[in-house]
Symmetry: C2
Subunit: 122 residues, 2 copies
DNA sequence: CTGTATCCTCTTTGATACTG
DNA sequence: CAGTATCAAAGAGGATACAG
């Protein structure tokens, strides 16, 4: 566990839910993957092509994390060549609502943000 | 849904507003800062104490980015010692709705996620 | 097809010391 | 009080080759 400068334990036994959740789905790819799975079950390579600029490694890692957190399910079919399908689990389905609220806001306010940003490049 | 010349599905044109927005407020601190400013104007050190484990450098940087993107305002009072107050700007106020939807979901589902996670540590 | 292992780079973040 | 500069560490992410 992390310690601060005085070597005191930082108390995250039960971390802030917001941080705990957002640290995971707040990365570069999770939302994109969940959004891709909103309407369809998807295979690994289909996701890879759809998202376009994600590396296979990051796709693999992020899928594992999402699966481990309970957002998605992973189904392997005993075939040659292998066929693996990813789909939203219950948690992922319930997450669609706040996610889409956020996405809608981003869409509506993107232009305003771009306008505000023009002055600098931080 | 759009398709390209080879009839493959394409969901994400560039620049994608979702990614552009979330890459900024999806970091470790932005949401926390915006949440802290939800009900009160705040000074630098007050924010620093309230958030607790953010470094001054990251607080400074994140505040600048949020200001530059138009989420918050920064007001300097001509005093000695200096007094600087941060407050939500219009964009930040409008962001409260999707943000709180997300926070509420995180609160309600945190336990389920923790339960799902127990098996591994990715 | 569906990944994993390895190596490498770039970004993020914190600690600390310093300035106005 | 409100930051900034500098340094260092950790992690995110990509490229490529390899494996089942």
């Amino acid at each position: 566990m992390k310690k601060n400068a005085k070597n005191e334990l930082i108390k995250y036994d039960h971390p802030c839910p917001i941080r705990d959740v957002l640290d995971r789905i707040g990365d570069q790819w999770s939302l994109l993957i969940l959004k891709s799975l909103e309407h369809d079950v998807m295979r690994f390579n289909t996701l890879h092509k759809e998202i376009g600029d994600i590396s296979r490694q990051m796709l693999s890692r992020t899928l594992k994390r999402l699966e481990n957190d309970g957002y998605i399910t992973r189904t392997v079919y005993a075939q040659v060549p292998p066929r693996v399908e990813y789909a939203l689990a219950e948690l992922g389905l319930s997450f669609l609502k706040p996610m889409n609220t956020l996405i809608q806001w981003a869409d509506e306010n993107h232009e305003a943000i771009c306008r505000a940003r023009k002055t600098q490049n931080l």
